[in-house]
């Protein structure tokens, strides 16, 4: 990462903190949605971009996290406990799902997660005694943390932003550690990695389980954010959206999820001119992007920077 890159990140951070003071409530809601989706996308990026596995269940994990918090907090469970429970539950479920699926090749995880998401949706919809079915759960309270009431739009946004910052740092730490090196290895050359003693199966499983728990954390924030959750929000559609977010932003790139989520949140607004055809345009754009620049928007940016640098080198060499 160049100094210019870090400067951009610093600027973005400042913008993120300052934004809610300049936006109306709907705008604050939008950026809060961006934060929550980024958390889920960071998780999926771990699974897809770093471990090279396709998960179509991230939407379901967001749902599990959301319902966990929505069901526990009215019972008097403190938000932090419910939040942690959401993440832990999704980690465990991810582990159980991934363990058999990753023993085989052929991207079986994609199919298992596809089936799992649909099953979760069916359970959420049918088990009304637990989840209230299609009527959903309303009014999940925003937490009161050590005296800080997060009921207001701005306050809750800062809570979400704080969680995002914490989880980002944790993820950055993980990627800097020997685990990060292991992920690069198993993504680039799993055969060589194995021959060096790297248990590719275990690292992939951990990436998937951790990625899934991040989905749970995102869901835990989502419930008090929108304060009305129902099964349809967590179906395959959300999983697809998150997947496209990670891809478009730049899979395997640390900042990819941030960019991808931003595009996904703003896109419906930008593409209002296409009158609701935006999903077609989005899907077509993804296909085109995969053909020319599978590394996503940030990949394109990297290429552009390289070109510029080369150009300036040449220009500098000419007396």
């Amino acid at each position: 990462m160049t100094r210019f890159g870090w400067l951009l990140v610093a600027l973005a951070a400042v913008a993120a903190v300052a934004a809610p003071f300049f936006l109306k409530p709907f705008g604050i809601f939008l950026i809060s949605t961006w934060v929550v989706q980024t958390i889920a996308a960071i998780g999926l990026n771990l699974t897809l971009g770093y471990a090279g596995q396709i998960s179509l269940a991230q939407g379901a994990f967001v749902g599990i996290g959301a319902y966990t918090v929505a069901l526990l907090t009215p019972l008097g469970v403190p938000f932090l406990v419910a939040f942690a429970a959401a993440g832990l539950l999704c980690f465990a479920v991810g582990w159980v799902l991934g363990y058999p699926a990753l023993r085989v090749q052929h991207h079986y995880l994609a199919f298992v997660t596809l089936a799992f998401t649909t099953l979760v949706f069916l359970v959420l919809r049918n088990e009304e005694w637990l989840t209230n079915g299609i009527y959903g759960i309303t009014g999940t309270p925003r937490p009161n943390l050590f005296g800080w009431k997060t009921g207001g739009a701005r306050d809750f946004y800062f809570l979400c932003l704080g969680v995002l910052a914490l989880l980002s740092v944790a993820t950055w730490w993980m990627l800097r550690s020997p685990w990060g090196r292991a992920f690069v290895a198993l993504r680039e050359n799993p055969i060589r990695a194995l021959s060096l003693g790297l248990d590719t199966r275990r690292y992939t499983l951990m990436a998937f389980a951790i990625g899934s728990s991040l989905g749970g954390f995102a869901g835990a924030l989502y419930a008090p954010l929108v304060q009305f959750i129902e099964p349809n929000s967590f179906s395959l559609g959300l999983s697809f959206n998150l997947l496209l977010m990670v891809i478009v932003g730049g899979s395997g790139n640390f900042f990819g999820p941030f960019v991808g989520a931003l595009i996904a949140v703003l896109l419906p607004e930008w593409l209002r001119i296409t009158q609701g055809y935006y999903l077609i345009v989005y899907a077509a754009a993804v296909m085109v992007m995969m053909a020319f620049c599978p590394a996503g928007v940030l990949g394109l940016a990297e290429r552009a920077v390289l070109l510029l640098r080369r150009g300036s080198k040449v220009a500098g060499a000419i007396p």
């Binding site: 993980m174 800097r176 550690s177 020997p178 090196r181 292991a182 021959s195 060096l196 003693g197 790297l198």
Partner: protein, 247 residues
């Protein structure tokens, strides 16, 4: 004294093709065993079966007396078995130093210590020593992908040695390397072998390399062992000459 590596009645078929046919041999501690043979004689398949890359159709592999047939390559590696690859397999995006740390990190501690411990897994010193041993010091921070082919071959060998293995299987280490590098590579392999009393098994095509490096040679043809002995005897063996010329 148990052999370091013992292969018994190894057999591997792909559909109707028999790639390895009832191969048995032993490798004793400290040996440098060469395996030669014309193209298609089953050398690489044999290697892959020993190393857990492929499941043998029949037969057993024993490492220091322990049955290891079909063990996953990563588990074998942690038992002290290492390999180099015919086609270059360094990690081009990582620096030379990071490649070496990667090669050693899975032998230290646990998953947890790797997550919460030092970013270099405490291996910076070992990596530096290995870099120096293979005379790559001036390239330590370069991306592995930017090294020359010969330098990458040296790095490949260095990675295989990083965890201090007792048994190293080298798959065509001399392939595509120019003469000067070849001399350096052979000399470094000898040095490592002497220093650690390691055991090597080498697949090679280049006769001079094999003759200069190996203490004993096995000849494979059409999946079977057709000759075995000291390098100079093998070179004069009429069956071996026939096998090579016949193909």
């Amino acid at each position: 004294m148990t052999a370091v590596l013992e292969v018994s009645n190894m057999r591997k078929t792909f559909g109707g093709i028999v790639a390895v046919d009832d191969v048995s041999f032993e490798v004793r501690a400290g040996e440098i065993l060469g395996i030669i043979g014309p193209n298609g004689s089953g050398k690489s398949t044999l290697f892959n079966c020993v190393l857990g890359q492929l499941q043998p159709s029949a037969g057993d592999v024993r490492i220091e007396g322990n049955l290891t047939t079909g063990m996953r390559p990563c588990d074998l590696n942690r038992l002290g078995v290492s390999r180099t690859f015919q086609l270059l397999q360094v990690f081009p995006q990582l620096s030379v130093r990071d490649n070496l740390i990667l090669a050693g990190q899975e032998h230290q501690g646990s998953m947890a210590s790797r997550l919460f411990g030092q970013p270099d897994a405490g291996l910076s010193g070992d990596a530096a020593r290995m870099i120096e041993f293979f005379r790559l010091s001036h390239l330590a921070d370069e991306q592995a992908g930017s090294l020359s082919y010969g330098q990458q071959k040296l790095l490949d060998a260095a990675m295989a040695f990083m965890a201090g293995p007792r048994l190293v299987l080298l798959d065509e280490p001399a392939g595509g390397v120019n003469l000067t590098m070849l001399g350096q590579l052979r000399e470094r392999l000898h040095a490592y072998h002497a220093e650690r009393n390691a055991t090597f098994v080498v697949i090679e095509h280049q006769m001079e390399f094999v003759m200069a490096l190996c203490t004993r040679v096995l000849v494979l043809a059409e999946g079977r062992i057709i000759a075995e002995g000291k390098p100079q005897d093998i070179r004069r063996n009429p069956i071996v000459i026939e096998a090579y010329l016949g193909h």
